[in-house]
């Protein structure tokens, strides 16, 4: 007995929406970055579920590439967060208002 692909799909939608809520509720750069990672992972889950249903084996290669690119993105993003912290002594998004007119 296998699990219907729709269950995985709905779970991924729930995770994506939770990631959006986390992004808007959190107020520091690192937590918002973690919320983005949650959304990225839920997209991976939806992709795998739909690809399995469509018998599309190449999807796993694509998800593998997504995970690899996410690793590169996390490294650069965290480096940017560190640079912001050194210059501003804060990672609260409310303090990053120098572009405000």
């Amino acid at each position: 007995m296998t699990v219907p692909a729709g269950y995985f799909f709905v779970l991924s939608l729930v995770l994506f929406v939770l990631g959006i809520v986390a992004f808007f509720v959190k107020r520091d750069l690192i937590s918002q970055f973690m919320a983005i990672e949650v959304m990225l992972n839920s997209a991976n889950l939806a992709f795998l579920a739909l690809a399995r249903q469509a018998h599309f084996a190449d999807a796993q290669v694509v998800v593998f590439f997504i995970i690899t690119v996410a690793a590169a993105e996390a490294a650069i993003g965290l480096a940017i967060v560190l640079v912001i912290f050194r210059r501003r002594k804060s990672i609260r998004t409310a303090d990053l208002n120098s572009l405000k007119g």
Binding site: D28, E37, V38, N41, Q53, A71, E73
Partner: protein, 162 residues
Amino acid sequence: MVIIVFFALAVICTGAVLGMIFSRNQATSALLLVLAFAALGGLFGLLGAPFLAVVQVIIYAGAIMVLFIFVIMMINMGQGIAPEKKKGIIVLACAMAIVLLIELVFAGRGSLPGAGVTGPGVTPTDLGRLLFTTYAYPFELTSVLILAALVGAIALVKKREP
């Protein structure tokens, strides 16, 4: 049996993300996300992707979240920041989230005809063969990308000599 595993992993995953939303401490939320990503690895395994399950646990729960925890320790915010003081924003965010979820489920329902059918899994052998034949060029490009990210991260964080 499989469906019990699915629901257990789904509850762990959703609960960990909810805990991450409500926790004030960044280190706690990072550790909860490790749990959520490990559970997601289990879900990948259920979807017939054993290699991606292992990759998810090693790279996401292992490497990326350890990087996050390193940065949290380096920044050391002390008390941590409370999620959000204004109640109105939380209520608005939750309401919009529920609307978005209903909309997404409604939109996705049409794309799942006969949602009970799932195909056979892909073994790591098949995946490796695909990766080194059809997708050899993107694979090599990815290694260049990782190298560029490595050099870029070091160049960004390095203290400038006067």
